[in-house]
C-alpha cells in the first residue's frame, strides 16, 4: 500500500468511527426529547401562547399607530387646504376688484358682476365636489382598515384554536400512553399545519394594492370630472366677459 492510500484508509476509518459515535448520541437525544414531551407540554404551550399574546399586543400597537397617523395627516392636510382656500379667495377678490375698476360703463360693470357670480359658483361647486370625493375616499379607506382588522382577528382566533386543539390532542395522547415520539411528531405537525394555514389565509387578506386601487381610481375620476366642469365654466365666463369688453379672440 502506498503512503497516500494508507492515509486515505486511516481517514475513512476515523470517519466511520466518529459517525458510529455520533449516531447513537443523536438518537438518544431525540429519544430523550420524545420521552420528555409529555412533561414539557405545559411549558411549551405557555411559551407559544405567551409569544402569541405579545405579538398580538404589538399588532394592536401598529393598528393604533396607523389610525393616529391617518387622523393626524387628515387634520394637517385639511387645515392646509382651508388656509390655501382663504388665500386664493383673497387673490380672486383682488382680480375681480381690478376688473370692476376697469369696467367703463354699466354694461361692463354688469358683465363683471356676472363673471364674479359665475366664477364664485364654479369655485364653490368644484370645492364641494372634491370635498365629497376626498371624504368618500377617506371613509372607504377607514372601512377597508376596519374590515381588514375583522378578517385578521378571525384569522388569529382560528390560529389560537388550532394551537389549543393541537396541545389538547397531545395531552390526551400522553394520558393514554401513546408513544412519546408519536406525540411529539403529531404535535409538531399540527402546529406547523396551523401556522401554514394562517400564512396562507393571511396572503388572501393582504392584497392591499388590489383593495386600494379602485378607491384611488374612483376618487381621481370624480375629481377629474369636477375639474373639467370647472375649467369649462371658467372658460365660458371668461369668453362672455371678453365679449362685453370687446376683447373677443
Amino acid at each position: 500500500m502506498t503512503v497516500i492510500s494508507k492515509r486515505i484508509f486511516f481517514i475513512l476509518l476515523a470517519a466511520v468511527f466518529l459517525v458510529n459515535l455520533a449516531v447513537p448520541v443523536l438518537a438518544q437525544n431525540r429519544a430523550k426529547k420524545a420521552v420528555g414531551i409529555c412533561n414539557r407540554l405545559e411549558a411549551l404551550s405557555t411559551t407559544v401562547g405567551g409569544r402569541l399574546t405579545t405579538r398580538e399586543g404589538k399588532l394592536e400597537g401598529k393598528r393604533n399607530d396607523r389610525l393616529e397617523k391617518l387622523v393626524q395627516r387628515w387634520e394637517t392636510r385639511d387645515s392646509r387646504r382651508e388656509e390655501n382656500r382663504l388665500r386664493w379667495d383673497e387673490n380672486r377678490e383682488e382680480h375681480l376688484t381690478k376688473l370692476e375698476e376697469r369696467a367703463a360703463d354699466d354694461s361692463q360693470k354688469q358683465a363683471v358682476a356676472v363673471f364674479r357670480e359665475a366664477v364664485n359658483t364654479a369655485v364653490t361647486t368644484r370645492r364641494a365636489a372634491t370635498d365629497v370625493a376626498k371624504q368618500t375616499f377617506r371613509d372607504s379607506l377607514h372601512q377597508l382598515v376596519a374590515s381588514r382588522q375583522v378578517a385578521v382577528d378571525s384569522l388569529i382566533t382560528a390560529y389560537q384554536q388550532a394551537i389549543q386543539i393541537a396541545f389538547e390532542r397531545a395531552k390526551t395522547d400522553c394520558a393514554v400512553n401513546v408513544e412519546p415520539a408519536s406525540v411529539r411528531e403529531n404535535l409538531k405537525n399540527d402546529l406547523k399545519a396551523a401556522r401554514d394555514e394562517f400564512h396562507r389565509d393571511r396572503q388572501a387578506i393582504d392584497n392591499v394594492g388590489e383593495q386600494i386601487q379602485p378607491l384611488i381610481d374612483a376618487r381621481k375620476t370624480a375629481v377629474e370630472s369636477a375639474l373639467q366642469d370647472f375649467k369649462a365654466a371658467v372658460e365660458t365666463a371668461k369668453q362672455t366677459l371678453k365679449a362685453a369688453f370687446g376683447e373677443n379672440e
Binding site: 409569544r51 405579538r55 396607523r66 380672486r92 382680480h95
Partner: protein, 96 residues
C-alpha cells in the same frame, strides 16, 4: 451606476412591500413638494380678464396637489403586515 440605481430601487420596493408604507423621508419629501405647489406665489391682479381666469385655474391646481397626497394614505393600510406575519410565527420549529 445602473447597478447601484437598481439596488436602491429594489431596496425601496422591498421596504414598501414589507412595511406597507413609504420611508418617512420619502413621504415627507412628497408632502414638502405638494406643500410647495399648494403654497405657490399668488398671481398678481392686473385687471386682465385672462389673468383673472388663469388665477382661478391656478387655485384649482394648488388644491389638486394637496388632494393627490391622499394616495399616500392608502399605503398605511398595509402598515400592520409585518406584525400580522409575526403573530403567525408565534410557533416555530425550534420550540421542540
Amino acid at each position: 451606476m445602473i447597478v447601484i440605481g437598481l439596488a436602491a430601487i429594489s431596496a425601496f420596493l422591498i421596504y414598501t412591500q414589507f412595511t406597507g408604507e413609504m420611508p418617512e423621508f420619502v413621504s415627507s419629501s412628497f408632502e414638502k413638494i405638494a406643500k410647495a405647489v399648494s403654497a405657490r406665489k399668488m398671481p398678481k391682479a392686473t385687471g386682465s380678464i385672462d389673468d383673472a381666469a388663469n388665477a382661478v385655474l391656478e387655485d384649482m391646481e394648488a388644491e389638486s396637489a394637496v388632494l393627490s397626497e391622499e394616495d399616500n394614505d392608502a399605503l398605511l393600510l398595509g402598515a400592520d403586515s409585518q406584525a400580522i406575519s409575526e403573530v403567525g410565527d408565534s410557533y416555530n420549529d425550534s420550540d421542540f
